[in-house]
Assembly symmetry: C2
Homo-oligomer: 223 residues x 2
């Protein structure tokens, strides 16, 4: 395990003084009581602050609404899961037997949560300035690319605007399946889009997330 | 103005190197283009991080859900407006003519926003460690008093639980008035509670906030 973790630390750009923090950050709650949720709570707030500060200085003329939207884009689950895949984090996650089987749809959020937990772990391992430096390196390209404006709209809004621009009818969303218990539900949504022969499927832990996921898939197909 | 600002700086516990930051933090958007909304964005994220970090270390055994609820209590508008009143911030706010007249219901959020803007201003004036130290002094008592558990529930939940415990019917909420344009609306809600002769009134910038406000007033009356 330790040898393997060395490779991960190289990819992350941080070599832990206390490797138990790294192991903790990689441990999903399904794998036992020493899991990463407290670190995730801490890391989430650090990431928000570092990104807010970076945007504040990079965009001296942009209003707080546009800064909020850019930050939301940079810290959302999808972006964090992309980072996780750049680190090949999936290979290092410590999951319980239930999660190992479930695969697919919860994977994205587990990866994103682990990235936040890693941020919390690096902070505890060092200090705020070191974690800031590391985050700015992780986000270097994304911070250079991001611009205030349209890209920060959510997928449903973008899909609607795209269809309106083409003078097509609005998409319709239907929940076709809900499984699981109260706090662990999986929603499946069909999105019907004029011009696409089949409904586009979206899956998520809430109706809203499932709809956004379907809209995003529809945009991928249309654009 | 400068003499007056010296008194405020004493109350805040920070003497600004750059007093234009302080003036900016006190300037509501109604008073002109050099207003405090960008500072508020920055300060909000700093406050969240500092409070998350403080809770993480003070409550080593508490799960992330309880930490989130405690943080929400500590950074919510009501708490920030309390801090503002401790600093007598209302006397220093720079408001446009419209806001000066409107008084009342928007006051709480303007005060809370200005506290966040002050946090952003102190950060830009110094650095993260200095602003952390200052925030921990502002929050000293609140951090000592806060405990994981029931108090962090929102007012509607607490009202419902109180009535259930007394085997009384649940409260009902009705929107009785909405005024203003799309992004600046004011909702008025009536909350009917068994045992109270008149509906309890709540006002807020969204239906949800107006309902929470009504529930809070109902709790004040019942407890």
């Amino acid at each position: 395990m330790m040898k393997k973790l060395n490779l991960l630390q190289k990819k992350l750009g941080h070599s832990f003084n206390d490797e138990t923090l790294l192991v903790r950050a990689l441990t999903h709650r399904s794998a036992g009581s020493r899991h990463n949720e407290r670190l995730e709570f801490l890391g989430d707030s650090i990431l928000s602050m570092v990104v807010a500060d970076a945007l504040f200085h990079r965009f001296p003329k942009v209003n707080e609404g546009d800064m909020s939207r850019m930050r939301a884009t940079l810290v959302r689950e999808k972006t964090l899961a992309e980072l996780a895949r750049e680190f090949e984090l999936g290979e290092y996650l410590i999951l319980g037997p239930g999660e190992l089987k479930s695969g697919g749809y919860r994977r994205e959020s587990i990866l994103a949560d682990a990235v936040e937990a890693l941020i919390g772990a690096v902070y505890l391992d060092t200090d705020i300035e070191r974690v800031r430096e590391l985050l700015l390196s992780w986000y270097d390209e994304r911070l250079n690319d991001i611009q205030p404006g349209v890209e920060q709209k959510d997928p449903k809004t973008r899909l609607q605007e795209l269809l309106q621009a083409k003078r097509k009818p609005l998409p319709t969303y239907t929940v076709v399946d809900v499984i699981g218990e109260a706090h662990n539900q999986k929603f499946t949504v069909h999105c019907l889009v004029d011009g696409l022969p089949d409904p586009v499927i979206g899956i998520g832990t809430s109706r809203r997330k499932a709809e956004q996921s379907a809209a995003e898939h529809a945009l991928d197909t249309l654009l």
